[in-house]
């Protein structure tokens, strides 16, 4: 039997934003090789920014052209031999990731805070505290490789929620992770901490991808195929070998939950968020979570949709545990970045609350919020708030760089009311105070969970919200109502360039607008519809 090779069809019209980001990343690497050092910074930033904007425009164009399917619930197409699903939710995730990435590029390119250099190590290979390092920073060296690395990560993030088979999913997971491992270790200040964060992130990340992969193997063993649609088919029809499937689902979940930082797989989050350069933390906290939730949603809804009754209880437990761990441990933190990290863990729990609210379309009444809509909206609000909050953290500095311990933030409200006010606003949004985006997001995920009958989770979520409010408000008290220490012992606000200001402004605007008139974005999220099976 001579197999005739048939040329694969690749629908470039649908996936070109994805390809564009990839191409920009590759061009960035080439630029490293050929453009003189003094011009690299400007070329790389402009290229990365322009590439992302173009991809964003492309995403909009693609989104408008998606074919509507017969039942009207889903739009889009499954492309590239069934490995990539470009549907409504997928393009929504693309757009969100690209916006966050744009914010990331702006923060990466900020050079005013460090007095003319970026927040990244001048020469990562130079040992900390050596003459070589001092020399490198003296002549203002900086790694412009961070932009291609960022773009590769963005590419992975975009591919992650789009992947329609387990193999592509695994590759995307690695593509998004590897650049982030590297970026984490490149801080200019506190390099030991940064390298250590990279090591921890890497080791635990590799560990979790081991689990993920074993899950892939077992699921493949159960279904005999990597494609989501085939898996769904097998799950629906095949009643033998349930244990194979269950173990497979469990292992896959471990890998994915690790990426979103859900308890009990959260232990890397605070360390990595604290050690990584703050621009990376901002980008990673928002981007990874968005991408990973996209993947979780697609995997669970499309591939394991028929097994809802087995994985939903598991997610119940994980969601409750995550919220409790995040909220309770955040209370005892004394470092701003760690506190935000634990808060992001708590947010993961809230998001999971939304994920487990999935119901059959027939169970929902007209115009009722769907689980997908709720999670998409929550991710939007969360992404902007995280980006904004970490951007503010980069501004508060003392002589040794960013000052992230609580003690140094004392009385910031009196010295810099604007910055402290902005930070307070982001915190209030994360706490879910009405008229901020966070509130609407929380409302949406709680609603879908309650509709699906997960009232114990909702009650736990409410209790955790109360705890969460406490630690957010504590920071506000610290900034506004605690008398500051003498000037030398507290941090002050450094005036940023337009880049960081723009990021904060966008984050703020989004948080306000989504809080006051969430309608359009909710509608957009609703319009994204369901996953294409």
């Amino acid at each position: 039997m001579d197999a005739v090779f048939t040329k694969p069809t690749i629908e470039y019209a649908d996936i070109w934003p994805l390809v564009l980001v990839f191409a920009v990343a590759c061009i960035g690497v080439v630029i490293e090789a050929f453009v003189p050092r003094e011009r690299r910074f400007i070329v790389q930033t402009v290229l990365a920014g322009a590439g992302l904007v173009a991809a964003l425009v492309g995403t909009v164009v693609v989104a408008r052209d998606l074919t509507v399917h017969a039942d009207g619930a889903a739009r889009g197409a499954i492309d590239v031999e069934g490995t990539i699903a470009v549907d409504g939710p997928a393009v929504f995730f693309w757009g969100l990731i690209l916006i966050v990435a744009l914010g990331g590029v702006l923060l990466f390119a900020e050079r005013r805070l460090e007095g003319g250099v970026s927040a990244f190590a001048g020469q990562a290979a130079a040992l900390p505290g050596t003459e070589a390092e001092r020399q490198a920073s003296k002549i203002g060296l900086e790694h412009t490789e961070i932009y291609p690395l960022l773009m590769f990560a963005v590419f992975g993030m975009m591919l992650f929620p789009t992947a329609n088979d387990l193999l592509t999913l695994f590759v995307a997971l690695e593509v998004l992770s590897l650049p982030l491992y590297l970026l984490c270790g490149l801080a200019r200040r506190r390099r030991l901490l940064s390298q250590e964060a990279a090591l921890k992130y890497f080791l635990l990340g590799a560990f979790s991808s081991g689990f993920f992969l074993y899950g892939v193997a077992l699921t493949y063993g159960f279904a005999g195929s990597m494609q989501y649609a085939d898996i769904n088919e097998a799950v629906r029809n095949d009643l033998s070998n349930q244990s194979l499937l269950l173990i497979g689902i469990g292992m896959l979940t471990v890998g994915l939950l690790f990426k979103v930082g859900a308890a009990p797989f959260h232990s890397w989050t605070p360390d990595v968020y604290q050690g990584a350069p703050t621009p990376v933390t901002a980008f990673m906290a928002a981007g990874t979570k968005i991408a990973a939730f996209g993947a979780i949603l697609r995997l669970f809804y499309v591939a394991f949709g028929s097994e809802r009754w087995t994985w939903q209880p598991m997610l119940w437990v994980v969601a409750i545990l995550t919220m409790v761990v995040g909220a309770v441990l955040a209370v005892v933190q004394t470092d701003m970045k760690r506190m935000l990290a634990y808060s992001s863990i708590a947010h993961t729990g809230f998001l999971l609350t939304g994920v487990l609210g999935v119901q059959q379309a027939s169970d929902l009444s007209d115009g009722e919020v769907t689980s997908m809509q709720a999670v998409l909206f929550y991710l939007t609000t969360y992404g902007f708030a995280m980006l904004g909050a970490f951007a503010v953290v980069t501004l508060v500095r003392d002589s040794s760089g960013e000052a992230t311990t609580f003690a140094r933030w004392q009385g910031l409200g009196r010295r810099s009311p604007l910055v402290a006010g902005l930070f307070a606003f982001f915190l209030l949004s994360m706490a879910g105070i009405p008229l901020t985006a966070g509130f609407v997001g929380k409302w949406a995920v709680f609603t879908v969970a309650l509709s699906a009958g997960a009232w114990p989770v909702v009650i736990a979520a409410i209790l955790c919200s109360i705890i969460a409010v406490f630690f957010y408000v504590r920071v506000i008290v610290l900034m506004f109502f605690v008398e500051g220490l003498p000037d030398g012992e507290v941090a002050s606000v450094t005036r940023p360039s337009l880049l960081t200001s723009a990021t904060i402004a966008v984050g703020l605007a989004a948080t306000v607008v989504l809080g006051v008139v969430p309608g359009p974005v909710l509608t957009l999220a609703g319009h994204a519809g369901q996953f294409l099976r």
């Binding site: 039997m1 048939t6 490789e145 995307a172 690695e174 033998s240 070998n241 244990s243 269950l246």
Partner: protein, 276 residues
């Protein structure tokens, strides 16, 4: 199946060995055993291509990389058995046993039925069939892996490559610098003194003695001082009785003078280390 039953115990034992050996390099070698056995199993599972790739890529490239890094880190690198988190090891083993039992029991009770076998799929040849799938259905994933490889290359460059920031000093510059140092700071201009002459088996680790009987710290390599393997000449003198006994000489009676050395390199070593 014969290959399986022979190799499976070997693999499990080798893998268990990784858990228990102290030295990292032994772990790497045990891992190599597992990987090569795996390659054989792949061959027995109708995957000749993977058999080759496993040996070439995994055992040949990846594991060698591990060994390189182990060389850089120091082959002697071994684990400490001190627990930093109390009970963590016990807990980890407990969790592992639980996971293992769960997996083995769970996977042991499945009934897979008769294997379909790969005779049909491999009909055009295993490599051709794989290529067919690789370049059609998984072509995008395949292309995507290039992102991984580029990332890896860029990452290795960023973390390991150090650019020269100042021009490398050559012989004339070095010579000029030495003379300058001598003029300004009085640094000794000539070569450093050679090590001591009390050669027993490795003279370079024995410092030379100055006229007043003290050890000359500059006469031994800094590296040896840092490692702490230098031998002090007076200490050697102490051992003279022992040596004489061994070679059959009468014990030397007047050794007390040597027993109170004016200085030892052990005392000098930290100072030399600081200077370096």
């Amino acid at each position: 199946m014969i290959a399986f039953w022979i190799l499976a115990p070997i693999m499990v034992l080798a893998a268990l060995g990784i858990l228990f050996v102290r030295k990292a390099v032994h772990a790497a070698l045990l891992l190599a055993v597992v990987m090569i056995s795996l390659a054989v199993l792949y061959a027995s599972l109708d995957a000749p291509f993977l058999f080759a790739v496993q040996i070439i890529v995994y055992t040949g490239a990846i594991l060698m990389l591990f060994l390189f890094v182990l060389m850089l880190v120091g082959v002697d690198a071994s684990d400490s058995v001190v627990e930093t988190i109390r009970g963590q090891r016990i807990l980890a083993i407990g969790a592992g046993v639980l996971l293992g039992t769960g997996l083995v029991v769970g996977l042991g009770q499945i009934s897979l039925g008769t294997a379909v076998g790969l005779d049909d799929a491999n009909a055009p040849g295993n490599i051709q069939a794989l290529a067919d799938i690789l370049f059609s259905r998984y072509v995008f994933a395949f292309e995507t892996t290039s992102a991984l490889l580029i990332t890896a290359a860029v990452g290795a460059m960023v973390l390991a490559h150090r650019e020269r920031l100042t021009p490398k000093a050559r012989q004339p510059e070095l010579a000029a610098q030495r003379v300058k140092d001598y003029a300004e700071k009085g640094t000794h201009i000539g070569p450093l003194p050679p090590p001591g002459v009390y050669a027993r088996h490795n003279a370079v680790d024995t410092p030379a003695l100055l006229p007043d009987g003290t050890a000359a710290p500059t006469s031994v390599s800094r590296v040896l001082i840092a490692r702490g393997t230098i031998r002090s000449a007076p200490a050697t003198a102490d051992a003279i009785d022992e040596i004489e006994k061994q070679i059959g000489w009468a014990p030397h009676s007047g050794g007390s003078g040597a027993a109170t050395p004016p200085a030892t390199t052990d005392e000098e070593a930290p100072a030399a280390g600081d200077g370096a």
